[in-house]
């Protein structure tokens, strides 16, 4: 039986009837059309589905949509404001931290959480923070550099 949930996604409140077994990832992608959040494995191994749930980086493939009831969810679509890229997005673009781009949304959300928590992380802090987000294209080098550059502009 479906349950009614209400949650705020990128600042907009939604009320939805969802099957209790459906994941947050499925509901974001299929019901809300927010396909920026990706499914790389569906079982919590790769990190491509990372969103912020009440500000905490969370694998949306391992989270039931009903667990997000009453929560605030942030996805990659909510990062740019007023047509201006978030500084992390801008640094990812400028540093060549994006190749195929499939890990990018999850990687960005993890980095957003990191920089909110710690405005001046060390390289090792950055590597630890994103170690749950797999990337097969970049060797991580330019991703780390982009996050470092974004943090320097914050602090």
């Amino acid at each position: 039986m479906k349950k009614i949930i209400s949650f705020v996604v990128n600042g907009i409140e939604h009320e939805l009837a969802v099957e209790p077994r459906r994941t947050l990832l499925e509901v974001l992608r299929e019901d809300l059309g927010l396909t920026g959040t990706k499914k790389g494995c569906g079982i919590g191994d790769c990190g491509t589905c990372t969103v912020l749930l009440n500000g905490v980086a969370t694998f949306s493939c391992l989270t039931l949509a009903i667990q997000a009831d009453g929560c605030s969810v942030e996805t990659v679509e909510g990062l740019a404001e007023g047509g201006k890229l978030h500084r992390l997005q801008q640094e990812f673009v400028d540093h060549g931290a994006i190749q195929c781009g499939f890990c990018t949304p999850g990687m960005l959300m993890t980095a957003v959480e990191l920089l909110r928590r710690d405005s001046a992380p060390s390289e090792q802090d950055i590597r630890r923070a994103i170690s749950g987000n797999l990337c097969r294209c970049t060797g991580y080098q330019k991703i780390v550099e982009a996050i470092q550059a974004a943090s320097e502009k914050t602090s």
């Binding site: 920026g36 790389g40 569906g42 195929c100 990018t104 060797g139």
Partner: protein, 792 residues
């Protein structure tokens, strides 16, 4: 200062903002009205005869729209290599690996599709399975295919030069072995397909493919459709690395299901299916014997390789040839014998993966060179420098290298990584857990011939000037799978037309736009780059002819620069043309600002004079290579080469290897986009490091993969990766556009052996079985106690 305005810069990728904002659409992000979801029934057995397939219960499940098996799909054979069409869309007589595809279901949602798959009943007669590639060819082994006697799918013996002569000249001769495990490409986006047939019988398929052109051909052939009725579109693709270059069962099944239901059908693999379908790295068993003179000059190489290719041929014939042919460089080697044999076994089919066929062969040869250097008492880099080829030379297997920065690359890593200083600290068989190792590599810059026999152009590009005046649109079938080819095409066009990068829009990855053989064998920059430059120059010629005609000046005296038409022969009066343009644009805000005609004015005037301004370009390599059997594989209009130094530390108690630093140099001819060249190099380092240390598909005794997920099939994380230092060497390739050649695959070549050589330097032991897991390394360390005199 660079003579280029856009090329050779760090321009951001043209698709980067879309990817950073979540706007870029990948296949699984697409939706169509009335879309159905499909699921596939895979074989649970490695080898079995199919006695009966009963779909009746599945058909009765509400919500199921169609079920297809070999009865509906037919049994027309297809495959990658026309000489080895050994697959059918679905299994009909036998299943040949755990995961082999038996049936597919389309239903109104995924749950129903999966439930229906469970309800299909298949009766099997289980057969003994062949699971070991080393013994698959022996008499008495079960046979997978009638067409492959003794399970030998392909076999070759190449003989170049005089091996006996080489042996006689040798001061040192040694034999070494190396084996690897099957590996997965582990791209982040699993294969996804959306197929739709309309009322005219036109089939459109969106797919996460690397090669829309080959997929279009395979669909038309296997589904018996006219080629012009099949359109393949590649949306954004989340990495390919090889396995997405061949047409998959997912693609064929989704098309078949849309043809039967008249509704769009989506089929997306889950991660386990990616592993099951595979088409990734083969398992290799290499044995090499080579010799050198006293001064380190290489005398010969005798090379045997058995490739375990899994159940079907896929790209494997080329894999076998590449494993032999690409050892022809980067060293002068007059005498080479290669015995290659690819066998089929009851495991997922292997195909192409970054560094196609040549990666493990390269690993062993570079390890062998180190061992020879040690016996000779010669520094490994000196030994390599002694033997490297130079531009203008031809290998013993008739590969001509027209540009070659091998020496520069090797010297660059040697100096950048402070090799002489660090190496001096270690030297022979120290065992302090710290090590440094070097290696080189050699790779094609685009395969010289298409997969099917044809004198087809490898690619065409059509560039159209905006008829309203302003930018241009580049149309190409090339496949940007994340490597950045769209950006390369945009940069080349902007450079040629004097336009800002933003004014060039690229439409690509659609079989309807142009022929392009696709993103494989590191071809796109060189090949599509050529075609793109030609198309841009064609547009430029037409615009300048039209404008010159209006101005009464010869077009040769005009050029396009900085978004303007500039005169090379003094001032010209443009006032009439400007007046006409301004008249057309009454009320518009941004109007021409400079004394020269702008590109907008020029392209608009050209349209007013001549109608659509469309430029075309094409590329096809010249005839290349020798005439011996298999000579086509390994040919290329250009060759990339690379060198790398790895530094490791090894925990001698646990065998755990930490790569502390990687310094790589790659000769890409000319870096069209500096950031992207580095990105390809760094990505190669990561993939190679994973393959050296952790990546392996593990099978149980029944041929089932036990680690078909990204937690147990380990690829490096950000914490595993060291700092990656990428040095670009530019050798100005005469056959490449602007001097450019490959970087996508060549850069992986030295990665594995440089790490292996560093591990030896750190531990004094050599591991002959990849990957070098802590278990294997610690066992080898324990089995080889170091004598006190060997310690540094």
């Amino acid at each position: 200062m660079s003579k280029h305005r856009i090329l050779n810069t760090r321009a951001p990728r043209v698709d980067a903002v879309d990817k950073a904002t979540g706007k870029a659409l990948y296949t699984d992000d697409l939706k169509r009205p009335r879309m159905l979801t499909a699921a596939i029934l895979h074989s649970p057995l490695a080898h079995a005869r199919i006695l009966n397939i009963d779909t009746s219960r599945a058909e009765r499940l509400p919500g199921v729209k169609a079920i297809v098996t070999h009865r509906e799909a037919g049994t027309r054979p297809y495959g990658v290599s026309p000489a080895r069409y050994d697959e059918t869309i679905f299994c009909h007589d036998k299943v040949r690996y755990v995961g082999d595809e038996i049936a597919a279901v389309a239903a109104i949602d995924q749950d129903i599709a999966l439930e229906a798959v469970d309800l299909i009943k298949v009766d099997f007669e289980e057969l003994p399975a062949v699971l070991d590639g080393r013994t698959a060819m022996e008499e008495g082994q079960p046979q997978l295919h009638e067409m492959y006697k003794n399970n030998i799918c392909a076999q070759i013996r190449w003989h170049f030069g005089d091996i006996e002569e080489g042996r006689k000249e040798s001061h040192i001769v040694r034999t070494d072995r190396m084996t690897s495990k099957m590996q997965d490409a582990a791209f982040m986006e699993s294969q996804s397909v959306l197929a739709e047939m309309d009322c005219h019988g036109d089939l459109t398929m969106w797919s996460s493919t690397q090669a829309p052109h080959y997929v279009q051909r395979t669909l038309a052939m296997a589904l018996n459709l006219p080629l012009q009725k099949v359109r393949v579109i590649k949306p954004a693709v989340g990495g390919g690395f090889g396995p997405k270059a061949s047409c998959s069962t997912a693609e064929l099944a989704a098309c078949l299901l849309t043809m039967r239901t008249g509704q769009p059908v989506k089929l997306t693999f889950d991660r386990e299916q990616v592993f099951l379908h595979s088409r990734a790295r083969h398992q290799f068993f290499h044995t090499m014997t080579s010799g050198v003179k006293k001064d380190g000059t290489l005398t010969f190489l005798e090379h045997k390789c058995v490739l375990d290719g899994g159940a079907y041929a896929s790209f494997g014939i080329a894999t076998m040839y590449y494993a032999g042919s690409l050892l022809g460089g980067p060293y002068r080697l007059k005498n080479m014998v290669y015995d290659g044999c690819r066998v089929v076994t009851n495991k997922p089919a292997c195909g192409a993966q970054r560094g196609h066929g040549a990666v493990i062969a390269r690993a062993l040869f570079e390890v062998q060179l180190d061992r020879i250097g040690e016996e000779l008492g010669m520094d490994p880099i000196e030994l390599r420098l002694k033997n490297v080829m130079e531009a203008g030379e031809t290998t013993c297997n008739e590969l001509f290298v027209s540009s070659f920065g091998m020496r520069e690359a090797l010297e660059a890593v040697r100096d950048s990584a402070a090799w002489k200083k660090k190496r001096a600290l270690g030297g022979k068989t120290r065992r302090d857990g710290k090590g440094i190792g070097a290696a080189c590599g050699f790779f094609v810059s685009g395969a010289g011939y298409p997969i099917y026999r044809s004198r087809t152009y490898h690619c065409t590009v059509v560039t159209k000037a905006d008829e309203m005046g302003g930018g241009v649109t580049v149309m190409s079938g090339a496949a940007d799978i994340g490597q950045g080819s769209d950006t390369v095409l945009a940069m080349i066009t902007a450079e040629e037309l004097g336009l800002p990068l933003d004014d060039v829009k690229v439409l690509s990855g659609d079989s309807r736009l142009s022929v392009d053989l696709g993103a494989y064998s590191s071809r796109t920059t060189l090949m599509t780059g050529h075609a793109c430059r030609e198309a841009a120059r064609d547009v430029k010629r037409q615009i300048l002819e039209a404008v010159g005609g209006c101005l009464g000046v010869p077009p040769e005296t005009l050029d396009l620069k900085d978004n303007q038409v500039v005169s090379l022969a003094g001032e010209i009066d443009i006032s009439n043309l400007r007046k006409e343009f301004l008249k057309e644009h009454k009320g518009f805000a941004s109007l021409p600002y400079c004394p020269n005609l702008t590109f907008s004015e020029a392209s608009r005037i050209a349209f007013l004079e001549r109608g659509a301004i469309v430029g075309t370009g094409k590329y096809r390599p010249p005839p290349l290579g020798g005439s011996f059997k298999g000579a086509a594989v390994g040919t290329s209009p250009a060759f990339g080469c690379s060198a790398q130094i790895a530094e490791v530390s090894v925990d001698l108690e646990t065998g755990e290897v930490t790569v502390e630093n990687i310094t790589g140099a790659h000769d890409c001819g000319f870096a069209i986009n500096v950031t992207q060249v580095e990105g390809q190099m760094q990505g190669s380092m990561m993939m190679g490091m994973g393959e050296a240390l952790m990546e392996q598909i593990i099978y149980d005794k029944k041929g089932r993969i036990v680690n078909a997920n990204l937690a147990e099939y380990k690829i490096p994380t950000a914490l595993d990766m060291p700092h990656l230092d990428a040095i670009i060497v530019e050798s100005d390739e005469p056959n490449g556009p602007y001097g450019a050649k490959e970087v996508g695959e060549g850069a992986i070549m030295p990665v594995i052996p440089s790490i292996l050589n560093a591990i030896y330097d750190a531990t004094g032991v050599r591991i002959e079985e990849l990957p070098v897991t802590p278990e294997r390394l610690v066992a080898a360390i324990k089995a080889n106690p170091v004598r006190p005199s060997q310690k540094s």
